[in-house]
Structures are given as structure tokens and as C-alpha cells.
Symmetry: C2
Subunit: 241 residues, 2 copies
DNA sequence: TGCAACCTTGCCCTTGGGGCAAGGTCAAGT
DNA sequence: ACTTGACCTTGCCCCAAGGGCAAGGTTGCA
């Protein structure tokens, strides 16, 4: 018959852990010897190993207690297994992002993006626009590392077409206008036709490349009522949820 | 400029989590607007994403704070990566044991072991010995599933040799003897030579098959002073730590 | 006989947030 | 101008799964 410390060392937990399992009704209290020490049998060890197997799989102790008595265990085990697979995949994804962080991909923008941004003032863009673009690309590269590069190159290419460049410059200038200025409606029209021409009839997604989530656009819009209204118009005309 | 809820929804955490990070000095407090709301920039979002990447890798927040300022980060990332690999392996092992549990391998002894145990009384073993063997194999199969079968078969084979069977039977009978009875020393001698004969000069491990941990032996010994002394003698003679 | 290493219960501490209260603020529609 | 619902603010207590310590009793070994 084992003492609590022997059982604990044996299964690879601390005595405290076993006492906690008793207190929570996970493992029944064993008989005590003459001096009040708990005395365990091999069957208790097997039971404890089962509990630890579930606990190490991340099953909450309360749920282990439920499973202990009922015979829902057979069914539950499959879901726990799936859950475990999902967590393993999650950890692998985390590891991947961690390695990108180690390579410095999250700490600064790539050199060509910085280069691109530095040329924007020369093309006629405002300081505000450049700062917004900086933030925007920072976010896109941080959240969509795999597609960010393609989005960026598409955007940079747009500015080499004089007609399209003029449209984007007007976007910039709209910032301080009244939301109901007719120039807002006019720009919305121009953006719709330019977008349709560039990306075809069935939109891959709204506006500037498919990888930019709506949230980024929302953050951009927030600084100007005119931009907010422009965004509303575009969503209506392009049929985006 | 983002509010806390926008930033939170964006990075995929709750606003509370961000406040906790402020309180713990992980993420600096951003400027407040006229009404006291926190206002975040894209740089904060990038910083938060870094923090979450580390947190999801299981790095304690206190440690993330240390890494945030110092440039020990580059070094620490490698260890965190290793750590993560180890945890992925651990989860996979847990999953493996979970599947064995699902197959019922932990709930009962295999049929051939039960069969073997049921034949022991007929060979002259005591009830006590059979119960101890039952417990012992329960433990071995629970903790060393991969090697248990080989250990068991080796042990079963031993009992088919009449000379070895007699040695084991004497082990059983020793239980109630005085620890200093000369028969204890005599059995120790016999066991040493039998073990050497069976397993060669350089022991794979002590006594009955290499997979049985010392702790199991300890549990067996606990019930008899004579067995305890026998164990001590064997360890000395066979040179086991 | 002494000592180290156990065991007992009880209580507070920790991590990483969740949830609620009580109040202030914002944007939209009426 | 008012209301409504969704935000935001701080402050507080709560959770799981144990860790650690205290104060006392017990065991094994020389």
C-alpha cells in the first residue's frame, strides 16, 4: 500500500495535486491507516493515471469528474481527441508566426514599402495620407503576411498609371470636404468604374486588393466624415456586405 | 485612430485583455481623447500582435514584459521556439495515451495476463503474491504500455522453468520471515546467479525485466521487512544505484 | 534518542483574464 | 432635442489548478 508521496512520485505529480483531486471529488479518498495517513492501492494509481491523461489533454477537472462516473466517456473521448488535434495545429501556427517575428518581419516594414512611401509626397500626396498608408501597410503586413506583398505591389502599380494616380490623389484631397459635397459622389463613380476595369465584373473584394480586411478600411475611414460617406457609397455600388 | 474595442476586435482579443496588458506594463498606455477614451495607432496594433504571438506560445506575461524593453529577445526566441516544439511533442504523446485509454487499455489487464494470474495459485503461490502480481502488472501496463507486453512474456516464460519457478516460489514464502533469517541471504545468492545466467553479465536493469521502475519494486517491498532486506541485498550485489 | 523525511489540515498566493456595477460618451434615428 | 443601443471608464470580486507555508503528528534509520 502506497503513501500519498509514493503514489505522487510514481505517477509524476505532487502530493498536493492528489489532495486537490480528492477535494474536488475526482479521485475517491482512500482508507487511512492507524495514524491517519492515506493508503493507496494499485487501482488508485491506475485511476490517477487516467485522470492525469485527461487533465494533460486540457480537460477541465470539473468535466473529468462528470466523465468519471457516467459512461458518456466513450463519446467524449472523440471530441477531446479532435480538440487536442486542433490545439496542436494552433501551436504549430503560433510557432510559425513566432519565427516570422524572429526574422524581424513584424518590427518594421520591408525596405521597398518604406521606399514607396517616401516617394508619395513627391507625387502630391499629403502628410496625412502618407502616415495613413504607413499604418495601413504595417497592419496588412502584420496580419496577412502571406498576401501582403501582392497587395502592395498591386497598389504600387496603380500609382504608375497617371489617370489612376489622379483618382487616388483626389481621394486624399476629399478628406476635409463636407460629406455631402458633390465631388464625393463624383469620386465614388470614378472609383467604381476604375475598380471594375481593373478587377473585372465580379469583384474579388472591395477596393484596394482582397487581403485588406474591412477593419483596416474602417480605421482609415474614421478620420474623415467625407471618407466615411465615400466608403458607404462604394459599398452600396459594389455590392459588398 | 482606433478605440480599445476596435483594436481588440481587430487583433482578436477582448478589450479587457488589452487593459490587463496596460496594467501589467506590457503595452504602454496610449494617449486619451477629450472624453478619456484610449486612442490607439497602428503601431500599437503591431505591438499588440507581437505580444499575443508570444502569449499564445505560452510565454508568461511577466517574461514578455522583460523581453519588450531589453534586446535579449533575439536570444530568448530560440528557447521559446524549442519550448514550443517540446510542448507539441508532449501533446502528441498525450493524444497517444488518450487513444489507448479510449481503447480500454487502461481499464483492465489484457486477457492473457488475467489468465496467467489465475494459474498462479495452482503453481503454489499465495493469495498475497497473486494480488501483488495483479497490482504490479496493472501498474506496468498503465505506465509502460509499449514495453509491458515483453516484460510480461519474459516473466511468464521464467515460470515454465522448474528451477526458476522454485526460486520465485521461495521469494513468495520469504514474506513473513525475519529479515535476518539466513534463507534471505541464500535466496539473494540464487537470484543473483539466476539473473546473471538469464540476462548476461552487464545487467539491462535490476531483476524482473528492465521496464519495471524502481518505484514499483518499492511498492512491492513495502509489505514485508524480509522483502525489503532482500531488495537491499540484490541492489548491492548487482550494483544498481 | 535524535534526525530527516514523511504525513495531516488550513490558509493565502499566483496567472490570465471574465464578469459585473455604476457611471460617462457616441452615433443614429425619430 | 431625445432616446436608444453600443461604446468607453474604473473598481471590484471570481475562476481554475495548483504552489507554498505554517504548525503539528509520524515514520524509518543509525
Amino acid at each position: 500500500m502506497l503513501t500519498i508521496g509514493q503514489l505522487a512520485g510514481y505517477v509524476g505529480v505532487t502530493a498536493k495535486t492528489i489532495r486537490v483531486y480528492h477535494a474536488k471529488g475526482l479521485l475517491p479518498e482512500p482508507p487511512r491507516d492507524a495514524s491517519g495517513y492515506r493508503r493507496y492501492s494499485a487501482a488508485d494509481a491506475v485511476e490517477l493515471i487516467k485522470i492525469r491523461t485527461l487533465a494533460e489533454a486540457g480537460v477541465p477537472l470539473a468535466r473529468i469528474r462528470e466523465l468519471r462516473s457516467g459512461d458518456a466517456l466513450r463519446d467524449a473521448l472523440r471530441q477531446i481527441d479532435d480538440d487536442l488535434s486542433a490545439r496542436i495545429d494552433g501551436l504549430r501556427a503560433t510557432q510559425e508566426r513566432l519565427r516570422q517575428l524572429a526574422d524581424g518581419h513584424l518590427s518594421a516594414l520591408p525596405a521597398d514599402v518604406v521606399d514607396h512611401l517616401s516617394r508619395l509626397p513627391g507625387l502630391g500626396f499629403s502628410e496625412r495620407w502618407v502616415a495613413l498608408q504607413n499604418d495601413l501597410w504595417l497592419l496588412v503586413f502584420a496580419t496577412h503576411p502571406s498576401t501582403a506583398r501582392a497587395s502592395f505591389q498591386d497598389q504600387a502599380a496603380i500609382l504608375t498609371d497617371p489617370a489612376l494616380l489622379e483618382v487616388v490623389l483626389e481621394y486624399d484631397r476629399l478628406h476635409d470636404l463636407d460629406p455631402h459635397d458633390p465631388r464625393v459622389d463624383a469620386l465614388a463613380e470614378k472609383l467604381v468604374s476604375a475598380t471594375r476595369a481593373r478587377y473585372g465584373a465580379d469583384m474579388p473584394a472591395y477596393d484596394r486588393g482582397s487581403a485588406i480586411p474591412a477593419l483596416v478600411q474602417g480605421a482609415v475611414n474614421a478620420s474623415s466624415p467625407a471618407w466615411r460617406r465615400l466608403d458607404t457609397l462604394l459599398r452600396k455600388r459594389l455590392g459588398v456586405s
